[in-house]
Symmetry: C2
Subunit: 294 residues, 2 copies
């Protein structure tokens, strides 16, 4: 198999070719501009590369309801030109191959379930914490859509008692994303998170918010693995702080060794590292080809 | 088919006989006492009633992991005698029929998905709001277990600005259950909720907490239906207040008509009314028989 993969992010697009083992053989990346420009580059990349199928994990919100007339479109986004853009349809008109289509974060969760930290498990939740906060959900062996798809980055969390930052989500002000995504860290401290030292008080506050969100996720969905990726989670000192916050919030209520004594193996970085998104798109492409073959 | 059903609650047990159409033909109820006494009554009830299978929806937390040595047991509960009790094993030793086993709230969610408000849908989340708050999760056509099972009654919510009640959850103090279950209402106002008038300020505060929890559930899991049952939800004036709170919290972010314009049909009372739990146990029994027959 020769499978195309597109990790379509709000900042950059990564395209690649891989196989059914989750191995990426080549890749390319370019900035996300207006959809016509960006898709022209995507189509040019895949021309002549003979992909048997293509998987797309896209920033969103997107329409993933196969019965909807807007299936395959980006729905609401402040990014100029992208709201309502028929991403999947544009690709289908260019290439007559099976396509897989899901959110970028559901794709990452799926990639991790196939080949990464949640391999051989039936469920995981993937948080990507970067410019925004997104959640991907894989439950009982399936990527979850439901009414729309998971948007857990916008849940409300309690305010840290020493934090007076007002929050920067344009929809909700001080929701999780508004308090804990990269821009919130930068606005709260006047410096990018990547420039703050590992022992800066910023990280305890960051872990406070992420820990609450993860605790709520465990209580509501009981995933077998929680995976935390994205640029902010490159700050590895966050992991032990988040482990403690989750245990503090749950306070012994969920009686399972994964939480009580093995939390370091339960709430983890992506097993595929920064390849989780692209590998996930690859997994969507593999799936699409298998479905076509019946 | 002649299927036995047990809705095992912390306060009372309801046992019945029904069929594969979800029809309950007879039922009986008795208070929950020590497990030996209670199970004696259950076994006596089913003796001579010739059930082809029995479904059990149990209060918990319970062990639903079929690979666990404690599968079928109640795990941690303050109820005398019940912690560690092998509920399913006791029943299996008394009756040589297929058994279905899940939490009471997962059973209720499943009953609603089979024959109630979520009929023909692939997902729903069921909240029961009474003496405690429990959550049942049905996603992509399956009852969700994962690491343990859903315990969404214990998520943290933000405090209502005019509420100084300290909360009464023995694990978490002011988690959702500690602020919004029946005992919290009674302790906050000095009167049982059922005795407060429909225009009492208690209900706006109640809706504030439930609305937050439902909004977080929608953001994380995107269910196709949210069902609110249990004694507290007999206060029907809560529904429009909760609809408004959910819309206020989401603030237009989730662009779907179910939330934007048809929320009265999206967040609803159980279609099966107070039969949701028993019908759900019945559905577990029907499933168990079908699985045995292959």
């Amino acid at each position: 198999m020769r499978i195309g993969a597109i990790e379509a992010g709000g900042t950059k697009f990564i395209c690649g070719i891989g196989n059914e083992e989750g191995e990426i053989q080549e890749r390319v990346s370019f900035p996300t501009e207006h959809p016509e420009q960006t898709l022209s580059q995507v189509i040019l990349y895949f021309r002549g590369r003979q992909a048997d199928a293509i998987g797309i994990g896209s920033f969103g919100p997107i329409d993933v309801d196969v019965s909807s007339p807007r299936y395959g479109c980006i729905t609401t986004t402040p990014k100029p030109g992208w709201a309502g853009f028929d991403f999947l349809g544009t690709m289908k008109r260019a290439f007559d191959v099976p396509f897989g289509w899901d959110t970028d974060v559901n794709a990452a969760a799926y990639g991790e379930a196939m080949w990464g930290a949640a391999k051989n498990l039936q469920s995981c939740v993937y948080f990507t914490i970067g410019t925004g906060i997104g959640t991907g959900v894989y439950v009982e062996g399936k990527r979850v859509h439901g009414l729309v798809h998971s948007e857990g980055g916008h849940i409300l969390t309690r305010r840290h008692p020493e934090d007076d930052f007002q929050g920067c989500c344009i929809y909700h002000g001080d929701c999780l994303e508004g308090m804990a995504a990269g821009p919130a860290i930068e606005q709260r401290w006047g410096t990018k998170g990547s420039e703050l030292p590992a022992d800066h008080p910023a990280w305890a506050i960051e872990a406070f918010y992420i820990g609450q969100a993860v605790a709520s996720t465990i209580l509501l969905m009981s995933p077998e693995k929680v995976i935390l990726g994205g640029g902010v989670m490159h700050q590895e000192q966050l992991f032990p702080l988040i482990h403690r916050e989750v245990q503090r919030n749950l306070n012994g209520y969920v009686q399972h060794e994964a939480i009580l004594s093995e939390i370091e193996q339960y709430i983890v970085a992506p097993g595929l590292g920064d390849n989780a998104g692209l590998c996930g798109a690859l997994a969507l492409g593999v799936d699409a080809l298998k479905q076509r073959k019946g």
